[in-house]
Each structure stands twice: as C-alpha cells, then as structure tokens.
C-alpha cells in the first residue's frame, strides 16, 4: 500500500469556499487525495481517497435513513481515529443527522467515570443512536440502557447490519448544524457547542486563507490530535478537506506511545501542516531528541501550529533547538488562539515569524492588571513571558474589556470578547448557558483574559476557574465532586485549582484535614490524589488545611477557589505530608 498523493492531478484547488460539509466532500472526492492511517510502528494501515470516503458515507447514510432516523436527530459517535469514524461522521452529514463526536476512555480503572460521561452526553444531546469502535460497544450499551430514545447502539457491526435502502440522500445544508462539539462546561453539566455549517465554513475560510495558514496546492496535513477535540476535528479533518489536502493520521494513543512517529510521518510523507498543544512538542522533544533518526528531514514542515492550551515559549524553543539539525525551521511556528465556541480559530500569529514573546512584570500584571514590560527580562522572579497570538481573522471583531465593559487599550489586561461569522449560535438545548456567554448583539465572552499589543492579542489566562492540563479542560468542581463522591471528605471540604509552574499547569486540591496523626494525614492526602487520578485522570498536589481555619468562601457563602489559591500561594497551607 502506498500513501495517497499530496496533489490532485487534474482537480483545481478550491480553498474553503463551500457552503456545507457535504459540498466540501463532494468536491474533494473528484481528486486522488484522501486520508491515511498509521500505527505506532509507522506502518500504513489504510489509505482511503476522499472519493471512497464519500462513497462509504453514502452507503452509511442510506442505511441510517432507511432505518427511519429523522432529519436533525443526533447520533453520538465515539471519535477514535479510524476509518469507521469517517463512515459514521460523514454518513450522518449525508443523512441529515447531526453527529456528536465524544471522547474515548483514558487510563486504567476509568470505566465508571467514562460511563457517567457518556450518559451526560446522551442526555445533553438527546442522541437517538450511539456508535463507535467495537471495543466500546459494551460501554455504549451500558450507557444507553437508561435512554429509551437511543434506538441503535454498538460497534461497527451495528451500522453495517442495517439494510441499505434505495432512498434519497438528505445532505445537511448551509442552514443546518454540522455537528455538536462537547468541550465546554463541566463533565457533570456538559454543554454541547452547536457547530453550524455556516459558522464552520466561515471559520475554515479564515483558517486556510491568507490571514491564517495560507494553504496552497501540495500542502499535506499530519495529525495525531483526537477527533473529539475541535482542533483535531475542525483543524485536521475539516480544514484539510476544505482544501482537498491529503491527511496522515496517527492515533493520540500511538502518539503518546511513540511521539517520534509524528515527526517521522511528517518527514517521510513531506507533511507541511501540523499542529499540537505545547505539551506535544514537549513530549516529542523529551522522548525523541535522544535518538533522532539520521534521515529525519523536517524542512517540509512550513506551518507548525500551536494551540489548545497556554503556549509555552520555552518548550517550543527547546523543540526547535533539538530538531533544527533535522531541518526544522523555528520560523514555521504559528501560535494560534481559539475555542470551540467560534468553531476553532480566532487569531493566528503571522506566517514566517515564529514564536514572538512579550516579557512583562509579574507584579504589575497580578496587582494592576497591566502588562508592563519587565525591567529585567532575565529576572525569572519578576519577569513573565507571554506569546503574541496575532490578529483576529478577517470579518471578525475582537475586544478586550474591563469588568464594567469599558474597552481597554494596549497593555491593559481584561476579558476577551469576539463577534463575527464563526461565533456559535449557542449551546445545544441550553438557552440559559448560552445567554451567559453570548449577548443579543452576537458578542461572545471567551472567558479568557488578555491584552492588546500593536493590534495583536496576547492571552494571559482564564477568567473562569477552568483548569487546562495537557490541552484538556478540567473543571475544578469535577475534581472536588470526585473526592466528595468517594466520601473521602465532606461536601464543601475540597477546593481544586491550578497553579502555573512555569512549565505547565499543576492541579492542587486543598482539603480540610479532619484527621489527626501523621499516618492519617498521609493516608488522606494519598486517597484524595488517588480519587482524582481514578475519576479525572489528572495528577494533583494535595494541600491539607487545618479544619479550624476552613476554606475561604465568597460573600454569598460559596466556595472561593480564587481565594483558596491565593492562600495556598501565600504559603498559608504549608503542611505537606511526607510520603504523598
């Protein structure tokens, strides 16, 4: 089996000027490019031209329509990176159904937490079908048991077994949704972002156009990003498809196992566009830099994007240092900023400029919300560097506002708002949650903090309590609930937050230690960390708070995570168990 070509021999490139996903695939199907799947050893498992993706999707669509699914109904899909995902996702597009891609389980012992998550997603999306890889058929059946509306569930066989009927296709059109993206809200109360066809097309045009990645014929995309994440699904399926590019995939698991395969595939297939959060660059650098293959040639990689979490310039510099001898061009780095509520992208830093930082004074930033250039940029105690994320995409407006809504000038830190054609119509079935972030005149509150610098946005952090670990959004209440659910501490006795270690975020959980004796305190800290690991699959530091002092609360009596964090950073919770 050979990899698919990077260029179409006859078909002229159209760059994201389509009206809907089915239209994009119809056009790409006239060429020879397509999607290829690689395993951890770098073997090509399958190569499917867009033409075949479309044919297979048509078959799936006729099965779904034939089975009586009505236009607009939702189909939950566990979004592993494999051909079956393409069958169901695009099958739904041609059947007029709205796909709901969801994550797959992570880590050992995670079954119960995963089933909970599936149930919440089934509830929030009102899905009528739930399909995925065969390994997860049992979990889907378990989760679907409580939902009589789910008429079909199972692995690949569940869809294959449906009879293909001679029915007309019902492709989703410009006025329809394209899919529902779960990435917002806590896992207990998940919000599904409605990705409309129209907003998606607008965002793709911006992403692939001159203010974005400026895609050209012959570009080739390589990705290990999960397809249940907007950066994976929109950035590295919809984006390349909208320009008829070839895509090479590695599963996120295989990337974690053999991060160098990411770079090997780029080198071997002459990939030119690939993205990762900072931690992916870090992982490949730490695991791979020791044994770089002699023939690794990354000179083809012209758009090395970074997004999905706070961008860590020092990580990227180290990556570039390690792979410059293999032809990596540090000017290829493109720091970007975005979120699912605008489909994916809001800003791209300019092409060919690499990572540019602004080094500011930490104290002025924390105390006056002002990004004042640091007196001594090398003073790690006082200086903090942030990455410039570029200008807003054409046709969109960005504002930085103070808490009273006043527009802020350069170097004044405030909340970032965006308006424009990529902004979501709202969260699925959640008018109240939508109103909290989206105003009547179409301004979206991103929940992020940042400042302007010469027309570019610099993102400094999040206004909300949201914790992002390795590109994963974790809500502090989910962590607290996990501990409380195991009855390790009483309700309200735990507060989770994250601290910036300079290299990444670290979760800290402060709990009231209603136990005495060193052994009991060590056991408590261990149980808390264990419960968090088991339920949320993140690691945490545990701070034990004397019960006499209690956890800080707001004036309305709610737990204040911000004040807990401030106390922690001020050294008020100094006790650390010896063995935890």
């Amino acid at each position: 089996m050979d990899p698919l070509p990077s260029r179409n021999s006859q078909l002229a490139q159209r760059r994201a000027d389509f009206a809907s996903v089915p239209e994009m695939l119809d056009y790409a199907a006239q060429g020879q490019t397509g999607v290829s799947f690689y395993n951890a050893k770098g073997d090509l498992l399958s190569a499917i031209p867009w033409r075949e993706v479309r044919e297979r999707a048509h078959v799936t669509a006729r099965k779904l329509i034939g089975a009586g699914f009505a236009a607009g109904e939702r189909i939950l899909i566990t979004a592993d990176t494999w051909p079956g995902f393409f069958d169901s996702f695009f099958g739904a597009q041609y059947a007029g159904l709205v796909p709901v891609p969801v994550s797959i389980p992570v880590g050992i012992g995670g079954k119960d937490a995963y089933l909970d998550q599936l149930r919440r997603q089934l509830f929030a999306s009102g899905a009528v079908a739930a399909v995925g890889i065969d390994d997860l058929a049992g979990f889907l059946a378990d989760a679907a048991r409580e939902f009589p509306a789910v008429r079909l569930h199972g692995g690949k066989g569940a869809l294959d077994a449906l009879p293909e009927k001679a029915v007309d296709l019902r492709p989703l059109g410009p006025a329809d949704l394209s899919y529902i993206q779960f990435s917002s809200g806590s896992t207990r109360h998940p919000h599904g972002v409605q990705i409309s066809q129209r907003a998606l097309m607008a965002n793709l045009a911006g992403m692939t156009g001159p203010a974005g990645l400026d895609v050209v014929p012959g570009d080739r995309a390589v990705s290990w990003l999960p397809l249940y994440h907007d950066m994976g699904l929109i950035g590295f399926l919809m984006g390349p498809l909208s320009c008829q590019l070839a895509i090479d995939y590695l599963t996120p698991r295989d990337f974690a196992r053999r991060p160098m395969q990411w770079l090997n595939i780029i080198s071997r297939n002459r990939g030119s566009i690939s993205y990762s959060p900072s931690f992916g660059y870090d992982l490949s650098m730490r695991r791979g830099a020791m044994q770089v293959p002699a023939d690794l040639d990354l000179s083809c990689w012209r758009r090395a994007g970074i997004g999905g979490d706070m961008i860590r310039p020092e990580v990227l510099h180290r990556f570039a240092d390690a792979f410059e001898p293999s032809g990596f061009d540090r000017k290829a780095f493109i720091p970007s900023y975005g979120m699912a509520e605008v489909c994916l992208a809001i800003t791209f830093s300019p092409q060919g400029e690499g990572v540019r930082t602004d080094i500011v004074d930490r104290i002025a930033l924390a105390d006056q919300q002002r990004a004042v250039p640091a007196a001594d940029p090398r003073d790690g105690q006082r200086a903090r560097s942030f990455v410039l994320c570029g200008r807003v995409l054409p046709g969109h407006l960005l504002e930085v506002r103070d808490p009273d809504g006043k527009l802020l000038a350069d170097r004044e830190v405030g909340r970032i708002f965006i308006q424009g054609p990529s902004v979501m119509p709202g969260y699925f079935g959640e008018p109240e949650a939508t109103r909290e972030v989206l105003s009547d005149d179409g301004w979206l509150d991103t929940g992020d903090l940042g400042y302007w610098l010469n027309g570019e946005i610099v993102v400094t952090g999040r206004a909300k309590d949201l914790i992002i670990i390795n590109g994963r959004n974790v809500w502090p209440q989910d962590i607290e609930w996990a501990i409380e659910a195991k009855r390790i501490v009483k309700n309200g006795d735990a507060a989770a937050f994250s601290i910036d270690t300079g290299e990444g975020e670290r979760v800290v959980v402060a709990v009231l230690a209603r136990v005495s004796g060193e052994e009991a305190r060590v056991a408590l800290a261990r149980d808390v960390a264990g419960a968090v690991r088991e339920a949320i699959a993140v690691d945490c530091d545990v701070a034990l708070v004397p019960p006499t002092s209690g956890l800080p609360t707001t004036t309305s009596g709610k737990l204040s995570r911000a004040r807990t964090k401030a106390n922690y950073l001020a050294g008020l919770y100094t006790y650390k168990p010896a063995a935890a």
Partner: protein
C-alpha cells in the same frame, strides 16, 4: 521487595527486557513462556518506585489509588507491559482494570489467546 505471590525476594528482571523506545521494540527479548509470576514481577518492577510508605505491593493493590504513581506513569507502564509481553490491551479492558492482579490476569489472558 517481597514477591506478592510467594513472599520471596524478587529478582529484578530488567536485564531480560529492553523496554520502550521508538522503533526498537522489535529488539525486545521476549520471555518465551511468561508465567503469572513473570508478569507480576514485571508489574512490580514498574510499580516499586511508587510504593506508599511501608505498605507492600500485593495482588490486591489498587494501582491508581494505593500507590503514589501518576497517571502518565501508569500509561507508560501499561504501554511498556504491552511491549514486553507483546499484547495489546483494548481500551475497554484497560478501563476496567484496578488492581495488580487484574492487570496481570489481563496480560496472561491476552497472551493465551495469541
């Protein structure tokens, strides 16, 4: 560290197994017949640095909870065990493993089915 199965001192078996890294998995020297003891030993070899206090690692040890191991290290361990014993543990099965015994039995079952 005492062996969780027999109570005898465990011998480190690292010299038999070259674990991890990119592209060299093929050079693994596979134990031809992996006994339950081999598998448990290998698991314990990975877990021993994470022992919490004096509590010994035994078959009933809940990996994510009773030890100080973090989730990335758990992932790494599972991957290395998969490489060492030449098995692939399906994600739904991984999600149901809690204890050392369950992990060992899973690996043995998968090896038996090969």
């Amino acid at each position: 560290m005492p062996d969780p199965g027999t109570g005898e001192q465990l011998l480190r078996t690292a010299h038999q197994l070259i674990v991890e890294n990119d592209d060299i998995a093929n050079t693994l020297e596979l134990p031809r017949l992996a006994s339950r003891l081999d598998v448990i030993r290998e698991i314990c070899r990975h877990l021993s640095p994470y022992q919490a206090g004096e509590r010994p690692i035994v078959g009933a040890t809940v990996i994510a909870k009773d030890l100080t191991i973090d989730s990335l290290a758990i992932m790494d361990m599972v991957m290395e065990l998969e490489d060492s014993f030449d098995v692939s543990i399906p994600m739904n099965v991984v999600a149901e493993i809690h204890t050392v015994d369950q992990l060992a039995d899973t690996i043995l079952d998968l090896r038996a089915k090969r």
